[in-house]
């Protein structure tokens, strides 16, 4: 009964989203306040219905109701509770429902919190969001119904794919979806603005917090996915340039570009056409990713088993939304008034270069991802484009970004002083050069790793040059510096920390060059050396888990004779699915990892073992956390506030010294 109610709620949500997609637009045309007021109400109602529908499916999982096909195929009564809850999104149908829930959530958030937006713009934004919702709810109802029943209920379910039975499943998809699907709201803002025909700095101010929010979650989601792959797939790799990873990286690159260009639009009323285009692009790339994953055109760790009907449906959605929004764009973009002027050397120009580089990077990833598909459909030849391709294209394009990042922060709006900025960066350049030399002396190894580490240090130092410069302007006591530090806009801190986060990630990537890998046949009592650590295999014994049996290799890690850690890598056999997975053993030493994976035991009792010593590897993900924290700080800046009391502040002066008054905000 509850399951049927969930299905019914989803049908109602579809009906409501149709209302929401039409009535407010009619209101915009007729300037009818009553019709405009429909949008927020339906947005919240739609969210509640989808949430109810989602809760019903979760209930079916918790109750192990195997008469529901989706539960039967992906759950098991002995499955631990956390995987019953998160297993809902561990399959195509359930994850589509999470997709829709996120869409509806963003609609409801705009309805509830963005109260100070012009009513017609908000109505148009919510209407566009409802178009997207309606399309995807229809997709689920017609092709991927998670509530379908089996006529005869089986006694036991088939269990969730063991690879997915990991805490990562509880964290990675929700984070990623909030980011990925979050760009739907910036898309809706862009399309809404195009419909209304009012695209100005004011619009940029309204949309900016949402871009930041989506970007923060996408950053964390990608990092979490990378970390999950690192410790679970057993290869010690963290990024495979797998097409689906690329599918999440592309919206991230476009979103990062958007995050920067929106500042120019907000402050200087310039680059409007480009900003609107990027808003459309970021979500289009999200849709493309959805198509790639769910249509079965890809071979990937992530791909869901294919069904051509679904692929065609998503392709239709993709074509409709990208085509429709670009059509609107082509219609309205030429009408835009040109924005503020700026000199070739200025903050604006730096951000333009940032955007050009980021979108070019994005394009290389797009080509590398789609080229094999295109080639196969045209010539039938099957090729794989792997890491070497991306290392040769993406990396050289990313290097200028690293060099330019601290420069951009130091250039003033409108007209900047290049030599002055370069002069202020000498500290950072020196720090980077010294770091490169020191690391080369300490670690030896590939020259490239030391250079990259130096570049990372340059970036980290350079990110803070501006702030430190502003804090210690005139030599004054510690007290004054602290007061100034607290008085500094949070967005300035946010930008510095996020930029430094990129540096931290790059340092972690550079350090992979200093890693050590050992593969050996390992017997009980034997000892192996990896980097500064010695690892002893103490014993191998079986252990019983909730829904699996495992063979655990107990190991001791020593450094200079002293025991520093214990490791328990294992091989798990899942009884329901008759499948084996490897659990890596991980020990962290000052940002580095000892990473151990074991394989089957042979006749002599030895296990094939792969041991890595990966110095500083955790910085790769820690850097992403810094980026997200920086984003969060910016989001908490009072100028970003989306709730109430803003109008008064808008009239007042901006606190940031380099800020210029917002122009063209009249509506």
């Amino acid at each position: 009964m509850i399951v049927e109610l969930g299905h019914y709620a989803l049908v109602l949500a579809f009906a409501l989203s149709l209302l929401q997609s039409l009535l407010p637009l009619w209101g915009v045309i007729r300037s009818d306040e009553t019709l405009l007021a429909v949008a927020p109400v339906t947005a919240v109602g739609q969210f509640l219905l989808v949430a109810g529908s989602y809760a019903a499916l979760t209930w079916a999982y918790l109750a192990s109701d195997f008469s529901v096909v989706n539960v039967f195929e992906n759950s098991h009564s002995e499955k631990p509770l956390v995987y019953k809850i998160s297993g809902v999104w561990g399959n195509h149908e359930g994850s589509m429902l999470l997709w829709i829930l996120t869409l509806a959530l963003f609609g409801a958030l705009v309805a509830v919190f963005a109260r100070n937006m012009p009513r017609d713009l908000r109505a148009a934004v919510l209407a566009v969001q409802a178009w997207v919702s309606a399309a995807f709810v229809l997709f689920v109802l017609l092709t991927s119904n998670p509530f379908a029943r089996l006529i005869q209920a089986p006694i036991e379910g088939r269990d969730l794919n063991p690879i997915l039975q990991d805490p990562g499943l509880a964290i990675h998809p929700p984070l990623l979806y909030v980011g990925y699907v979050g760009f739907s709201i910036t898309f809706s803002f862009a399309a809404g603005a195009l419909i209304i025909g009012r695209i100005d700095a004011m619009w940029a101010r309204f949309v900016r917090p949402w871009i930041l929010l989506a970007w923060i979650f996408l950053t964390l989601g990608i990092a979490m996915g990378s970390y999950w792959a690192y410790y679970t797939l057993g290869w010690g790799g963290f990024w495979f340039w797998d097409p689906v990873e690329n599918a999440s990286l592309m919206p991230w690159l476009a979103g990062t570009a958007l995050l920067h260009t929106i500042i120019v639009m907000e402050k200087r009323d310039a680059l409007k056409v480009w900003t609107i285009f990027l808003s459309i692009l970021a979500f289009s790339l999200s849709l493309l990713g959805t198509f790639l994953v769910r249509s079965g055109v890809l071979t990937s760790v992530h791909a869901f088993a294919s069904d051509p009907q679904r692929g065609i449906f998503i392709l239709a959605i993709l074509v409709f939304f990208i085509g429709g929004s670009l059509f609107l764009f082509a219609l309205q973009a030429p009408k835009l008034k040109p924005g503020g002027l700026f000199a070739p050397i200025s903050r604006e120009s730096a951000l333009v270069v940032n955007n050009l580089l980021l979108t070019t990077c994005c394009a290389t990833v797009l080509v590398g991802t789609l080229y094999p598909l295109a080639l196969e459909s045209i010539t039938g030849a099957k090729i794989s484009v792997g890491p070497p391709f991306f290392n040769l294209t993406f990396v050289p394009l990313f290097i200028p970004i690293i060099v330019a990042m601290p420069f951009g922060q130091l250039l003033a709006w409108k007209r900047g002083d290049f030599l002055g900025a370069a002069q202020r960066l000498t500290v950072a350049v020196a720090a980077g050069a010294i770091a490169a030399l020191v690391f080369f002396a300490m670690q030896g190894g590939p020259v490239l790793a030391a250079i990259m580490a130096g570049a990372a240090i340059y970036l980290i130092t350079g990110s803070f040059v501006d702030i430190v410069g502003r804090l210690v302007r005139r030599s004054s006591g510690l007290h004054n510096v602290l007061v100034r530090a607290l008085g500094m806009p949070r967005s300035a801190w946010g930008a510095a920390i996020a930029h430094a986060g990129v540096g931290v990630t790059i340092f972690g990537l550079a350090a992979t060059g200093w890693g050590v890998e050992r593969i050996a046949s390992f017997k009980v009592g034997q000892t192996l050396q990896a980097g500064p650590y010695t690892i002893t295999l103490d014993k191998i014994s079986p252990r019983q888990g909730p829904n699996y049996r495992e063979m655990v290799a107990y190991m001791t890690v020593r450094k200079g004779g002293a025991i520093v850690s214990k490791l328990e890598p294992s091989r798990r056999f899942f009884t329901a699915q008759r499948m084996t997975t490897s659990q890596a053993g991980l020990a962290t030493f000052s940002f580095g990892h000892v990473h151990v994976v074991i394989s089957q035991q042979d006749k002599n009792g030895a296990v094939s073992t792969r041991i890595y010593w990966k110095p500083y590897v955790s910085l790769i993900w820690l850097g992403a956390v810094f980026m997200a924290v920086g984003g969060g700080l910016s989001l908490s800046d009072r100028r970003m506030r989306i709730v109430g009391g803003r109008r008064r502040r808008l009239a007042g002066a901006d606190t940031e010294p380099s800020a210029t008054p917002v122009t063209g905000s009249a509506s």
């Binding site: 979806y177 079965g296 088993a305 394009l397």
Partner: protein, 159 residues
């Protein structure tokens, strides 16, 4: 700088980056793109030894031999042709006789292949699509036990 001049500058920088990217991509495509073949295709196309490629097929029953230490050899077959693959390292969890496998490495001679990676299959129902297509073409593909019919995810969910 005038508006027109600025637009021109931005466009020319943009075109410059795109040209750079295109150049890099063409360069990378030349040496870093790997073709997928089955043993029969390796023979039919008379691929030169020394070529880097992905070789896919079924692991022939009884052909897996440990050759000391971490080294192992096995025969990849598509039932018309066979190629012996040598590999050093840990085999994926689901590597088994009679199952599909995709390996990447360098062709040593028309019948010998040295792999540097053996790709994991992530669940029983999953077969690399390249391989499934090739096997289908040759009529070797079986829908055993409802394989490929279930809608289970074959890995982490995303999007």
């Amino acid at each position: 700088m005038t508006r027109k001049g600025r637009r021109l500058a931005i466009i020319s920088i943009g075109v410059g980056f795109v040209a750079l990217a295109a150049g890099l991509m063409l360069f990378a495509m030349r040496d870093n793109v790997v073709f997928f073949y089955t043993p029969a295709e390796v023979h039919a196309k008379s691929v030169k030894p020394g070529t880097r490629l992905r070789l896919g097929g079924l692991v022939k029953k009884g052909s897996i031999k440990k050759t000391g230490g971490q080294a192992v050899t096995f025969v990849v077959t598509d039932s018309t042709r066979e190629i012996t693959v040598s590999y050093t390292g840990i085999l994926p969890d689901l590597f088994r006789e009679g199952q599909g496998v995709v390996t990447e490495g360098v062709l040593q001679s028309p019948a010998a292949f040295k792999a540097d990676s053996v790709l994991a299959k992530h669940d029983e129902n999953y077969m690399p699509r390249d391989l499934a297509d090739s096997l289908k073409k040759q009529g070797l593909f079986k829908h055993a036990k409802g394989k490929f019919k279930s809608d289970k995810a074959t890995g982490r969910p995303e999007q």
